[in-house]
Subunit: 148 residues, 2 copies
DNA sequence: CTATATGCAAAGACTTTGCAAACCG
DNA sequence: CGGTTTGCAAAGTCTTTGCATATAG
């Protein structure tokens, strides 16, 4: 078994009260390594490269566990199916290109403060939040220009 | 047929290039009247009160059309199914109670400005955005206190 | 009469569950 | 052993489609 890469993840899982099985380590590793927002199918594909017999159900179950324990975040950009990312150390928001699907993360501490204010005004105590901006990225914008 | 209420909606639909059928008027009316974020099923239930034979598929098809023409907005709060609301005149964001599901709308013009800045930094041109804050509303918070 | 809209049932896409076998301690 | 985890297949949920009928202009 691949020990080197999995060791820290093993601890990571254990410290969150998750029994660190090989499958879970692999799923988490894929997410951490890619640093991307992957769909269950994509994760399945990547993990299957190492463990051809792993089932999609296990991926979903694992993601559910990881999400529950706060190791992974689930997103539903636009109307799409769910995408997952390894939980970032600090919260960040997302810029999503509606043409090519690219996701860029950004951080705007001031926005967070304003959110707090808005919540207070409405007597809500914030648990989490999500800010997604949909737009056209530079690359796609350039393509448009060429076309016209 | 109920004319009074539907007349303005008829125009509304027509002006957006949508053939104003009775079913569409009813769906839109339900959304406009409720001013809420309803699921397809809920809308179906409400419209069926007037037209028992209407199918869920029609609701979905109608919502798809209305959304496409910008009369209705689709949301996917949390991991739930889609919810729809009649397109508000001005954009607003949402506070969602994770306990009781209540949705409160709010508006923070400053946040929008900061979003613009973030997008600019990353060379995105904004098309739309979504800000959702998940938390606990006052009512639910009080219930918690009582329990403990 | 042609085109669009609708109901119904069937299909689809994504996700969850039931269960027996495999694993781990 | 005794509790977890897994694969597989089946079931579930929400949503979309196909098709024949109904409706509208």
């Amino acid at each position: 078994m691949p020990a080197a890469a999995g060791t820290d993840l093993t601890e990571h899982l254990r410290s969150h009260g998750i029994h660190p099985t090989q499958q879970r380590i692999r799923v988490l590793k894929v997410l951490v390594d890619s640093r991307a927002h992957l769909s269950a199918e994509e994760i399945h594909g990547l993990v299957r490269a190492q463990t051809p017999r792993i089932g999609l159900a296990t991926i979903y179950r694992t993601l559910h566990t990881l999400k529950e324990k706060g190791l992974v975040e689930e997103h539903r950009f636009n109307d799409e199916f769910s995408r997952y990312e390894a939980m970032p150390a600090s919260h960040h928001d997302h810029l999503i290109c509606i043409e090519c699907g690219k996701v860029v993360e950004f951080d705007q501490p001031l926005i967070e403060q304003l959110q707090l204010a808005a919540a207070k005004e409405n007597h809500f105590s914030i648990v989490s939040h999500r800010l997604e901006i949909y737009g056209i990225c530079e690359t796609c914008a350039k393509l448009h220009k060429k076309e016209s």
